[in-house]
């Protein structure tokens, strides 16, 4: 049960229930669709860019608690960041949820550290990373549907 509590931390459950930056971003500069065929998670990530900086980011769709909370916390974390900073954060996040090479109190991760429990559930890594892959597709202006397979 303790591993389970690590996975479903309060912050995650809260963001699942009350996601931040949820809903369409009308007239967004960029957007991309993400799909996790394993569990049927579907989401759209919308991005506004000013030069190299993400000025606004929103998402909508349906998914499990891990994928929804991850999308919600991601939007909080990348708003105002440059694309280079965002990519760096994505890499750090992927390390956190896969090999656990990153300390849970890594300052750069901030609140994203609540996803450290995912590393004990390899099948759930895709849930946690779907929003990030979709964000990357959006900023790269790719229009094929991103899948985690």
């Amino acid at each position: 049960m303790s591993e389970l509590r690590d996975l479903y931390q309060e912050v995650i459950l809260d963001h699942n229930k009350h996601p931040h930056n949820f809903g369409e971003l009308a007239g967004a500069d960029r957007h991309a669709d993400g799909f996790n065929p394993l569990c049927g998670d579907k989401l759209v990530v919308y991005v506004n860019l000013h030069g190299d900086t993400i000025t606004d980011v929103r998402f909508e769709g349906s998914g499990c608690a891990i994928s929804k909370a991850s999308a919600s916390l991601m939007t909080d974390s990348v708003k105002g960041k440059t694309l280079v900073e965002t990519r760096e954060l994505f890499n750090r996040f992927l390390n956190l949820v896969t090999d656990g090479d990153v300390a849970d109190d890594d300052e750069a991760l901030g609140k994203l550290a609540v996803f450290s429990g995912v590393r004990d559930y390899p099948t759930r890594v895709k849930c946690a990373s779907l929003a990030w892959h979709t964000l990357r597709a959006a900023v790269e202006d790719r229009h094929d549907v991103v899948t985690t397979e």
Binding site: E3, L4, C39, G40, D41, G63, A65
Partner: protein, 418 residues
């Protein structure tokens, strides 16, 4: 002895605790809990006689079959042929050579689509399936339709997951060349009236393939009584090994069909100018088959019949009714698939909890269920859900295990009631 007393004797002969002892995996623990295995629709666990048969074959009986003139090869060939006979007995097929060994149900269906289908379907012809098919009974027909310019027609299901039989019958058109229908739905639990379906199709001269992947280990199947033309199933759901499946085909159809794959074992003679094909069933079994798998499947058939499908059916129906009641009382839970005729499957969604989260949380209590679309995305779309959680019952499950599932679902509710 009165008939009621006789029935009691038969009923008490099914001893689930005795059966559980035959399955070594059931005594292992998962995350410090006793394993509660309720993902039987995905694959069943294997009883000791099957495990022993596999080990014994490789330890003392391994040789390639056919054409070997030494004793070991003769023994392996005999064991392989014996396994075919056991499957023939299970299905009550007229002849052993109507049983073709494949890798699984998927390969069996692809064989029929590519061999029978390409030979008999042309532009404008139709294949009729139902809305509750597994992807393995959809995609092979889509591939065929693309190849020959045929059309895939889909008979609808109602809100409980029952096939709308009148619509189905209406959809059998003068262009219908094949009906392919699931016997027991893997995501809804619906048992289709296959006998009625065969009668309707045959009345219009249309052959019928039945996907028995789920039904074969829950109920007796008699292909002669059903009068179906093809019946497919996979070994690993029937308490046998993975990698071995079965296609039953009516002899007159199999005889006319071209080979599916070319290679060794399926020929009579080969020259660069002309090759002639072997007799049934070898025409459809190119290359060295999964010999151990077939022999293991034979042992699984023996086991299944020794326990008895009637007793298994009664026990599982009892558990399904118990589980249906118990789950219905879980607050915020909705069963998907409530057809009047069901077996084994309890598919459900819960308010505020995605099926994937349900699966992870019940696993922490040692309860193994499947979550997702169960390779039936059209069914998910029909019910407007991205996925379901699915518990599926087999002969070794108990009332206590259903209770364990319900208790684990309470943990799901606790987690998501913030």
């Amino acid at each position: 002895m009165s008939s009621a007393e006789t029935a009691n004797v038969v009923e008490s002969a099914f001893d689930v605790q005795r059966i559980r002892q035959d399955f070594p995996i059931l005594s292992r623990s998962i995350r410090e809990h006793k394993l509660v295995y309720l993902d039987n629709a995905a694959t069943t666990q294997k009883p000791q006689p099957v495990l022993d048969t596999l080990a014994r074959y490789y330890a003392t009986g391994n040789a390639n079959i056919h054409r070997g003139v030494y004793l070991l090869s003769e023994e392996a060939t005999a064991a392989f042929d014996l396994a075919r006979g056991k499957v023939q007995g299970l299905l009550n097929a007229r002849a052993a050579h109507e049983i073709i060994f494949t890798r699984n149900s998927t390969e069996s269906i692809n064989l029929v689509a590519q061999s029978y289908g390409r030979q008999n379907l042309g532009s404008g012809d139709e294949v009729l399936i139902t809305h509750m098919e597994h992807h393995s009974n959809i995609v092979p027909w889509q591939l065929l339709c693309e190849q020959v310019g045929a059309r895939l027609c889909v008979a609808p299901i109602d809100g409980r997951g029952t096939l709308q039989l009148d619509e189905f019958e209406r959809l059998i058109s003068p262009r219908t060349r094949l009906v392919a229908v699931v016997h027991l739905s893997n995501s809804l639990g619906t048992v289709n009236p296959v006998q009625e379906i065969v009668r309707m199709a045959h009345a219009r001269g249309v052959p019928v393939l039945i996907d028995g992947s789920q039904s074969i280990y829950h109920m007796p199947v008699d292909v002669q009584a059903l009068d179906c033309d093809f019946y497919v199933f996979t070994g690993h759901k029937l308490y046998g090994p993975t990698g071995i499946g079965v296609l039953y085909g009516r002899e007159s159809l199999l005889e006319q069909m071209p080979p599916y794959q070319g290679g060794g074992d399926m020929i009579r003679s080969v020259t660069f100018e002309k090759t002639t094909y072997a007799e049934l069933p070898h025409k459809f079994e190119a290359g060295t088959p999964h010999i151990a798998g077939a022999i293991g499947l034979g042992a699984a058939v023996d086991y299944l019949l020794r326990v008895g499908l009637e007793g298994i059916g009664r026990h599982e129906a009892d558990l399904l009714a118990y589980g249906t009641n118990a789950l219905s009382e879980v607050k915020g839970l909705q069963l998907i698939g409530t057809a009047p005729k069901k077996a084994s499957i309890l598919s459900f969604v819960m308010d505020g909890a995605h099926p994937h989260d349900i699966g992870t949380i019940v696993d922490s209590d040692g309860v193994a269920i499947r979550t997702g679309h169960h390779c039936t995305q059209p069914v998910m779309d029909r019910f407007g859900v991205p996925a379901t959680a699915r518990a599926s019952i087999a002969m070794y499950n108990t009332h206590e295990e259903i209770d364990a599932l319900v208790k684990a679902l309470e943990h799901v509710r606790e987690t998501f009631t913030v």
